[in-house]
Amino acid sequence: MALGTVEFVQALVNGLLQGGFFALSAAGFSLIFGVQKVLNVAHGAFIVLAAFATIQFSILVTPVLHIDPLLSIFTDSLMLALVGGSVYLLLIYRIERTGFEAPLLATFGLSILLEYLASNGIGPFPALDPSHGIGAQAQHQSYSSTAIQIGPFFLQEAQALAFVMAVVVLPILQLFLSRTYRGRAIRATSQDWEAAEFSGINTKAVRLLSFITGSALAGLAGGLFAFTNSVTATAGDEVLLPVILVVVILGGIGSILGTLAAGFLVGVIMSVSSLIALTLPSQFQFHADLASLLTFLIFIVILMVRPRGLFGHGIAE
């Protein structure tokens, strides 16, 4: 297959759309890590939890009340804000001063727990993938399969939505962090929590706020994930967390706009490299996923040159 301009541009477009989703998924992780230095390995599981809720919503609520399942992304993000807030108050708050390992283990245990719940069902809600491996998707044809046609290019509607959401929500978050008192308090705490406390900032409230905001972002991303992908219980660890880590490090930890740019970059690298993999003659086709190979190779190269990420402020070194 020859590589035409149209296919190439289409891959670029797909990558940008996909990148919006990546950025949305990674922003919450970046915020939480930036502020309280808690590596929330359950972030992927949070996203899957929200996707799970949207899928349940589309199965249980939509046929009865005729509410657009897309609206459930807002209830998802509310729900995840609650989950994140309680996780912070019940688990993380008690142990965050003991060092790095205990909070990490707590969120690790949490991610196993959420994975278990998603694959076995929560109370009356059925399990996510009873057949193991074949994921579920939100039951709404018009979002998951319709594509908007612009000239010779196609935009998948759900992906376009994730893109728009990322482009709208993340700059708002950035404005919140840089222009409002609370946002500045969050940034102050992430730079030096002791100095922030001496300046009269209630750092506990700030940490709670950042954990809630980060989790709410996971909720938004998760709701959209249910429309764009087929969701399995382990997708959090296997699909989302790797991409989130790459995007967060490339974007520079704690930098929201950096995360957005890195999301686009990773999305484009992935989609262009899978296009290249497709055009290779069959004897050069590998069992390996060329897209992730290339993505991670480019990632190492960037990391070697700039360990703080593309948009970080030199805190890493």
Binding site: A102, L104, G109, P242, A288, F296, E317
Partner: protein, 310 residues
């Protein structure tokens, strides 16, 4: 070796050596159950070298472990005996450790995040070079239960004593100094880069050898093992239960973890409730004993002792 936990360790090693002799030929099948204990001991001990002593939080030890499994499988395919496959796997792990050296300039948290990505980088490379994702070895090269038991015992024993003597040496003191305060130790003339490299190399060697041993336990390695967070984070969990930065801590943690895991799994055969209980256990330990079983007990004892009045 003078303190009680070290003596206990020596006695248990002795019993572990003698135990199979008391079993009949039929009963020796039970020995393969203990292989997992030896694997976890080695993996936890190897994590402790870097994460416990040198204070470098390596969250990507599954990369070493899975790479060891893959290299071990390739060695067995080429007809090498088990022991050579273990050594080759170890060397591959040490080489991967060398590849980690550039990340030493990252500060603690950022080092931790970077190591979390390491398995994700190695996985597609291995798939690309090996041109497959599944490495299943023929049943003929798998050890018998008794061979599996003794090779595991030797692996764990070498790891434990190796860690002990390494920590008694100049290297060990340098590593602990590094873990306490990197700037202060480098100003005292400790070659930070050199000693960190030694720690990561040794740890990588052991973790990869443990991976090749794991291949003997389950007979197959799939590259999804690279991404399996369990193999990166369970060792940390064990080290924390047992006591971070001590050489007997990882052994205690690995044994306690494996015992509980074995007990819970046998209580609910054919069900996944054990995962549920395990997750609650991890959260519980993290929240209630964030400094581990041993040091929490020490703290309790200190609290009970009244402060002497002058």
């Amino acid at each position: 070796m003078r303190n009680p936990s070290q003596i206990t360790l020596l006695i248990s090693l002795f019993f572990a050596t003698v135990y199979p002799l008391t079993l009949s030929t039929e009963g020796s099948r039970v020995l393969s159950v203990y292989a997992v204990y030896f694997m976890w001991i080695s993996l936890a001990e190897s994590w402790n070298l870097v994460g416990g002593y040198a204070g470098l939080l390596n969250l990507g030890i599954s990369a070493f472990f899975a790479l060891g499994g893959v290299v071990g499988a390739l060695a067995l395919f080429d007809g090498f005996p088990f022991i050579i496959s273990l050594l080759l796997a170890g060397f591959a792990g040490a080489i991967l450790g060398v590849a980690l050296i550039p990340t030493f300039r990252l500060k603690s948290f950022y080092f931790a995040i970077a190591t979390l990505v390491v398995p994700l980088i190695v996985k597609p490379m291995v798939e690309f070079l090996g041109n497959r994702a599944d490495f299943t070895v023929p049943q003929t090269v798998i050890l018998t239960p008794i061979g599996l038991y003794y090779s595991g015992l030797v692996l764990a024993g070498i790891t434990i004593f190796g860690a002990y003597f390494l920590m008694q040496s100049r290297v060990g003191f340098a590593l602990r100094a590094l873990g306490d305060d990197e700037l202060a130790s480098s100003s005292l003339g400790i070659n930070v880069l050199l000693y960190k490299s030694i720690a990561v190399l040794t740890s990588g060697f052991i973790a990869s050898a443990a991976g090749a041993y794991y291949l003997q336990i389950i007979g197959t390695i799939n590259t999804t093992l690279f991404q399996n967070l369990n193999f990166s984070l369970f060792p940390i969990f064990m080290v924390i239960i047992g006591g971070i930065g001590t050489f007997e801590g990882p052994v205690l943690g690995a044994v306690v973890f494996s015992l509980i895991n074995y007990y819970v799994t046998s209580q609910f055969p054919g069900s996944t409730v054990d995962t549920f209980i395990l997750s609650l256990m991890i959260i519980g330990v993290a929240v209630l004993l964030p400094r581990g079983l041993v040091s929490s007990l020490h703290e309790l004892r200190k609290r009970r002792t009244p402060i002497p009045v002058k």
